[in-house]
Amino acid sequence: MSAQIETVDAKPCSACSSCNTSQLTRLGIKAGGWDYVVALMGNPNTGKSTIFNSLTGLRQHVGNWPGKTVTRAEGAFSYNNNKYKLVDLPGTYSLLSTSVDEEIARDFVLFGQPNVTIVVADAARLERNLGLAMQVLEITDRVVVALNLIDEARGNGVTVDERALTRDLGVPVVPMAARRGEGVAELLSAVDNVAQGAYPTRPRRMKYRDAQLEAAIVTLAAQLESAFAGLPNARWVALRLLEGDESIVRAVHEGTLGEIRQPNTFVNLTKLEAR
C-alpha cells in the first residue's frame, strides 16, 4: 500500500496545467553564453543539489552528509527566454566561517556577484537557517529564499507563513519540496522576476548605530577600494577586518582579496549525462 502512495508522490506534476514548468528547458552543462548567473547557497543538507538537478537536468551527486559539494558545480537552464547559469555552492552555516569549502561559497557570493542568489533554507529548522539568509541579505539585494523540505516541516506539524516571512525579509520566499518537484515553477518565476528587476526587493538589514564604528567602516572601506580596484562589498570586508577575521586579514596581506577561486568546475560534471 505504501509503495503505491510513494509512486504517486514521486512523480513531478508536470502533466498538471496549473504547474507551470513548461517554460523551463534544462540545458545540463551546455552553458555557452548566459544572460544571468544564479548562485545556490544554504546550510549543509538543505537540498541545494536536489534543486540544482531539477533545474539543470544534471545529476550532481546528492547525499545526506556535510561537505559533499566541496567545489562548486555549474549547470544551465533557460526560462522565459532567458539563459541562466546556475552555480551549486558547498553548504555553509555562515559567511564568516573559515573552512575551505565555506570560503568557496562565501567568495563566490561576495566577489563573483551573481545576478540572483537563492538561499535554500530548511523549513523544518528555519530559525537556524535564517542566520545565513540575514548575512546574505547584508551583501546583495537580489535574493530569493527557497524554503525547502516544507513536506518534512509539515510532517513535524510546522506551518510556515511564507507571506509574513516575505514581508519581513523583503525578498521572495518560495515554499518547496524539491525532491517531489513541488515549488519548482514558483522558484523559477521568482528568480526570473528578481533577475530582471521586475520584483523590487527590499532586503532587511542590520543597522549599525555606533557612530565610531560607522566612521571606522567608512575610512577602511575607502582604503580597501583604492587598494583593490573594483572590489565589491568593501563595507563588508571592512567590518570583517575590524572584527579580526583571520582569513580576510590574510587575503588583504597577500593581495588575493576578491580573487575568485577557479576550481575545475566541470570536472565532476562531464561524466554526468543529461537526462
Binding site: 552555516y93 555562515s94 564568516l96 566561517s97 529548522r125 530559525e127 537556524r128 542566520g131 583571520e246
Partner: protein, 84 residues
C-alpha cells in the same frame, strides 16, 4: 554549570559562550548564543562527543567544546513551553 555537565534529557539555557576565535564563530553560526535553549539528546558509547538539540537541529560537540558553554538549568514550565 557548563553544557558538558548536563545529563541526557536535561534542558538548559545558554548564559555565556566562552569559546574563542573561529570556534566561537562556529558556535554562534550553528545557533548557540546566550539565551538559546539546548537539550542533551544522547551520549556516544565512549561518552564523547555528545549530541545536543539546538534550534530543532541535532549537533555533536566534543567535551572540550561543551565545557566552554556556560548554561543554567531551566524550569519545568520552560521545558513544556519549548516542547509545546
Amino acid at each position: 554549570m557548563t553544557l558538558s555537565q548536563l545529563e541526557v534529557g536535561q534542558i538548559a539555557k545558554v548564559i555565556k559562550v566562552r569559546s574563542e576565535n573561529a570556534e566561537r564563530r562556529r558556535m554562534l553560526d550553528i545557533g548557540i548564543l546566550p539565551g538559546t535553549v539546548i537539550e542533551t539528546v544522547m551520549r556516544s558509547p565512549l561518552g564523547d562527543p555528545v549530541a545536543y538539540r539546538v534550534r530543532d537541529a541535532v549537533v555533536a560537540l566534543r567535551r572540550e567544546q561543551a565545557e566552554l558553554i556556560e548554561v543554567q538549568s531551566v524550569a519545568q514550565e520552560t521545558r513544556m513551553e519549548m516542547k509545546r
